[in-house]
Amino acid sequence: MAKTINKNQINSLLKEVEKEYKAFAPIKGPEGDVLFKLLCDGEVALGSEDVVISPKDIFFPQWETMFKFKDGQIEETCESAPVFLFGIRPCDLKGLLFADEFFKRDIEDKYYLSKIEGRFIVTIGCIKPPRKDACFCTSTDSGPFAKDGYDLQLVDVGESYLIEVGSKKGEEFIAKHAKFFTDSDADTAKTKEDAAKAVELKVDFKKALDLMADDKFTPQEIYERIGERCLYCGGCLYTCPTCTCFNVFDNATDGKGERVRNWDGCILSGYTREASGHNPRTEKWIRAARRYEHKLKHDCKVTEKSGCTGCGRCLSSCPVNIGMSKFIQEITEKRRTM
């Protein structure tokens, strides 16, 4: 039989969890902003709050020291601690799983992989879309409820959350913390149906993927418009749950310092500029094309999954209202949205 947990039990449960894990959850600050933080930083927000940055930064920080050096000696600085991710959204789960696979592919990335070791994920389904005009997870088939990939999933059924178990680890967790859970026969079908209906923004994602799969399809006029309008702030890259590009540099004085990686991205012109000064991607439209083709075409070729999770953050963080959903509308509905 399914289990539920009363909403007022969540904090006590998390207190238990903190003994074993570094626990992160969406935490609302006094100013109203919600960010993934360590539990001790404040109150957990499980409503329909928008979290500006996806939880990717817990495993792939914006600035990360790779190793330190001094007098020619290298000291590795690679952290690991089992992470408990509580209350992430299904779109972000999809993003994390995508990034996991990427960092494992071919040559493994120890910095990322050591941080996901032993990770426990509790997703929460979205009853209302957090980014009201930007979320389009029903179109990308990544929400508002996750189908798999989580350890546990919370379904808001009023005063309590119904627990869906997604892994053996999840099952063991329930058993271990049995005192917090009660049996339930609540039916979640209606809740899920209503939640899906609440995601009002819908795009023809399949059609977009089909169009983009064709090598001859290059909507240059749209790319040019995006390239011209874009302010090159990097927001879409930094907030995207599947963007994983980084720059590497030495932060050092007189041979003493650290090697660092810092978020980077393909919309920037210097990203592909070679030491000689030659740059194959100087034109703005080519960089715009790179981003959309990467998410909607190249990723599908490599993994059979698109790199877009429908989270809508590219749109909601864009100062000039450019976003994946709008691009898809332009190519599939043949109308101007940007």
Partner: protein, 680 residues
Amino acid sequence: MKSKHTLTTCPYCGCGCGLYLVSDGAKVTGAYPSKEHPVSKGALCIKGWNCHEFVNRTDRLSAPLVKKDGSLQESDWETALSKTAKELRAISEKHGPDSVAFLSSAKTTNEENYLMMKLARAVFKTNNVDHCARLCHASTVVGLASTFGSGAMTNSINEFEKADLFLITGSDTTAQHPLIGSRIINSVLEKDAKLIVIDPRQIELAKYANVYGAQKNGTDVAWINGMMNVIISEGLEAKEYITERVEDFEKLKEVVKEYTPEKVEEITSIPKEKIIEAARLYAKAKKAMIVYSMGITQHTTGVDNVKSLANLAMLTAHVGFDCTGVNPLRGQNNVQGACDLGALANVFSGYQKVVDEAARKKFEAAWKVENLPGNVGLTVTEIIDGAGTGKIKGLYIMGENPVISDPNANHVREALQNLEFLAVQDIFMTETAKYADVVLAGATFAEKDGTYTNTERRCERIRKAVDCVGNSKPDWEIICEVAKRAGYEGMEYSHPSEIMDEIAKVTPIYGGMSYERLEPWGLQWPCLNSEHPGTKFLHKDKFAKGMGTFLPCPYKPPAELPDKEYNFTLSTGRVYWHWHTGTMTRRTSVLDREVPQGYVEMHPENAKALGVQTGSLIKVTSRRGSIDIKAKVTDKVVKDSVFIPFHFKEACANVLTNPALDPIAKIPEYKVCAVKLEKI
């Protein structure tokens, strides 16, 4: 793994975006936008997104330095602070109080600017205190104060979302104030707002303009008068508004009647049809916003330019309403605040004049001192000149880099070398700090508490995210320590909030502010008392000075025009990726990579004649010096004009610029000087 998020304010431009610094306890490891913040709304520009990086750089100053045997050596605070206090005191006693001077900083907090001017005035009894606002918006402060009564941006950033016309001149808005630029783009593309751009460089926004005119550098008064000429001759002026709210309309009519579109075309080279179209569009708009910046102010006619824009707005009733006004965009994160807090040679905090005896009495009582000086002090450029001539013998510079940022850089170096004592307080070893006798290691925005006031007059908090690097100290503490060692007891605070409480007591426009009330998103001045909600836009119902005044100006040419030998016009400015002298952005990997070196923009026809292409090295020479720099060939500049960003010390634009000043605002003419170009 990350553990802490600290809400603070971006240290770059005047937008004042709210962001969270992420830290792992020791280092800042990221910067994320605040969604709820009224300016950032979940977005930042690329400088903001990367503002954590320079904080972590290993070449940060981590201890005070004192010159010993000709070189700067690491020292302890007691030595550095007492030396600073003692030397300045000795010079002041020997040569009189006006032989020392203080340069404050638009990069530091309101509290620190207040303390710097208090140090100059209360402790060293001189009004020789100024800061880089002199180099950017001094003309605005004078020009708008004399026409409207208040020298600040009239409206708020979010009002850019609902205006229906923008007249942008001398502001590369998307590059320099990206989150204002974005609002303009969105309004134009999504809400059909109209856009007029008048700029000698074809800025990014120009491509969306209904009217774009490229004037000859330094001819702004002419085209603005031209627009007013058209408006009056077509009867489009706001007659009722003028009668009720503005004086001296007849004087305006008299001056602008000469500026027919034909004559204006001759002076400015903007086709007369464009002048007429711009005038009609602007006059007929309901909610029109003028947006301007350094392209208007950095001229020997800077004040005239500003007055003319103010005249234009009053003529058409385009000031004093929601989404309608005159908006000088302040460059530095806290240049508005540094002005507000009196880091200017002529005013105490809140623009209370030093020549006003009542104001002096008030500050004497508050600071428990006697005989505050009543003469207007020297400005930034005059201080540097004074150092050159020997009039200024001791100088204390906080967070400014005049060797790169001031005009005629070679002259600045000589002047600094001529000083008996120079103290420089900064976060990195700048080009200026190299000339210091004492270097005081200050703190970045990430390491201290305080407030900044953004371009829309919003005073907002910055909050400490990590500890100071090594042995460095928050700037406010350093100033207090110097004051104490100079024998003054009235500068002891345990936290910047106490400084703000003092500011509120003596500064009417900040009268209602306290750290408690500034939570979470700050307050916009005027905020007169503890119940006052702050002010979204200025001059509602009446101008700050009562009646507005038309102050018409005739066109005067720039101080240095091209001639046979120096046959190009140079203007200087900034690029999107970098900030001022590059101290922060050139230490940010992504930003430095995007534009790693300086360049001179020139028109393809000029490039062809010189036989150069993008990447060719050329020598640019003015009457003051010369630099070697790479060419960037682009039709975004007009023929015979060149543009050089001033961020790069290796190709320092300010070696070339003309220190000729606006007679009232004392702002140098960065935007026009004559140069010649040679292929190397």
